[in-house]
Amino acid sequence: MIKYILRRLLHLIPVMIIITIVIFAIIEQMPGDPVNAYLGVGSEVSVEQQQQLRAQLGLDQPGYIRYFKWLGRTVTGDFGRSLKYRKPVKDVIGTYIWNSFYLNVVSMVLAFAIAIPVGIKSAVKKYGFFDNFWTVFSLTGVSMPSFFFALLLVFYIAIPSREWAFTFPLNGMRTVIMAAKGYPTKGAEILDILKHMILPVTVLTISSLASLTRYVRNSVIEVINQDYIRTARSKGLTEKVVIYKHAFRNALLPIVTLLGLYIPGLFGGSILLETVFIWPGIGNVLYTSILDRDYSMLMAANVFYAVLMLAGNLLADISYALVDPRVKVQ
């Protein structure tokens, strides 16, 4: 097993190199000049000074040399400086991934907590009213553009709620005035953030629920059709014991696998959702770094997403092999 994991990790190196070359080449093609973006519009900096800055940032060298330089620095853990935030890219990512993580972790816990009982009940009463309801729910959830759902929530809940007893924040992560003044207590800050989380978490939870309930339902149905469930029933066990003790435990395996798969994704924010809610997560950072021509930032954010993706795929394969002995590790 360890050998298998090591080999998979070795395989990832060329994959990662190709992906970074692709991303680097794409970013090279971007219009606009980072030096101008850095200086801002209408800055009175002479052409020589601009040249100097360009040389200082290494922007005057050909692309492939800059790629290798970038690769060399990245391997040692130096992702360069963000032109926009004016601090090391590593620090920016280190700050913002946690904001994405909060959103994702809360909605994942909620999604699993709802999807497991719903999935079991749907599977037990297949094609019943309950099952059909959730089938429609998940189909709608899968087909709903998340940004549009977010807009609907803001339009029909957050904006009218100004006249309600409880006001939903429109966007952001903290109330600007409160954050500027400084929160009186840590508890007040957490409460404020939680309030801002309600709407984005709703969108995220519903969109992950959509596929998750189907997944749980189908794994339970698969188990219920097994011979040992028939055996358990013919032994005269009550339906409750059959389902929760015999069926669910076995259906849990693929669900746990899925849980493992989700873990890397927790750190990557949804770009669209964070843009709609102006949530200061990593997805929002990636999007704004495109608009700001903040190339080191954009490159690092893209690489970060690629690493998450590769880690998720690797974890999925490993956990399949661990959970199901029929999967051969070659």
Binding site: L139, F148, Y287, N302, A306, N313
Partner: protein, 304 residues
């Protein structure tokens, strides 16, 4: 007596005539939800094709005095900031959104079945290389990459060209899933007897793959194309919402919803962004229903 034998023969021959496609069709017809999905999708397609012909307004026509009108008898869905009829723009935007979805799914299906077919048929080294490429494409984080690429090419291409760019981009990044399925199917199919027959007939590799192997995986390809199209429509909408997909003047449902990023439009003129959003949802739901229905219909194990 003779009558009876004839009858029996008829029954036998009728039973024989039911091929797998007809069987799938029979199963599909029984699935009311899927039929409803297919019908709604068909209606939407007809609507966006023929709607503009029935509309009294023209795309090029903008009467600035009529700008930002709320829905009324004359303009069922109101008008936008240039005095254009929103309903007409919904029809025209729908054409582009559905076309982008269709073409993106087409590119993905073409590449997926080609790569999967070649990898599965030749096996060995070719298979290794192709599947490694598929793995790399599969590992590329979809949204960040698509956003970065369209931002890079954004200002160089015209609005119409951008439409083709978005199609190609979505298609080129989403084929590996189908390639894996097709490859797996072909690996087992090529060991079957009918393939020995093609060997005896001396058919070329190309004929074997295209005429004999791929048609046997058609069920997977069709399902993948339908669900892929739904996904592509969603992706295009998301990209256009960020301003990184198809940009005006070419209308799509996605870039019509993008108007909602303007606070004034969002809060006071919902007729500009609500209807296109609802259309995206309705279209994607109907395609997904159709796709799921097709999957169940093709799967002989699935029975209700």
């Amino acid at each position: 007596m003779t009558d009876k034998t004839v009858n029996n023969n008829e029954i036998v021959s009728k039973a024989k005539a039911v091929g797998p496609w007809q069987l799938a069709w029979e199963r599909f017809k029984k699935n009311k939800v899927a039929v409803a999905g297919g019908t709604i999708f068909l209606l939407i397609v007809l609507m966006v094709i023929f709607g503009p012909m029935l509309s009294p307004y023209k795309m090029s026509e903008f009467v600035l005095e009529n700008k930002n009108l709320p829905p009324s008898r004359a303009h069922w869905l109101g008008t936008d900031e240039q005095g254009r009829d929103v309903l007409l723009r919904i029809f025209l935007g729908g054409r582009i959104s559905i076309l982008v979805g269709l073409m993106a799914a087409g590119v993905s299906v073409f590449l997926g079945s080609l790569v999967g077919g070649i990898a599965g048929y030749y096996g060995g080294r070719v298979d290794n290389i192709l599947m490694r490429i598929a793995e790399i494409v599969y590992s590329i984080p979809f949204t960040p990459t698509v956003i970065s690429i369209s931002a890079a090419l954004m200002f160089r291409v015209s609005s119409e060209r951008k439409m083709f760019l978005v199609m190609a981009l979505i298609g080129v990044l989403s084929w590996p899933g189908l390639a894996r399925i097709v490859r797996g199917q072909i690996l087992s199919l090529r060991e079957q007897e009918f393939m020995q027959a093609t060997e005896v007939l001396g058919l070329s590799d190309r004929a074997k793959i295209v005429r004999h192997l791929l048609p046997n995986t058609l069920a997977f390809i069709i399902v993948s194309a339908t669900l892929g199209m739904a996904g592509a429509i969603l992706t295009e909408a998301g990209l256009s919402y960020l301003g990184l997909g198809v940009t005006p003047p070419v209308p799509t449902w996605g870039n019509m919803v993008e108007r909602a990023r303007n606070t004034k439009v969002f809060t006071t003129m919902p007729w500009l962004w609500l209807p296109p959003g609802i259309m995206i949802m309705l279209t994607v739901v109907s395609i997904n229903l159709l796709g799921e229905g097709l999957r169940d219909a093709f799967d002989p194990k699935e029975s209700r």
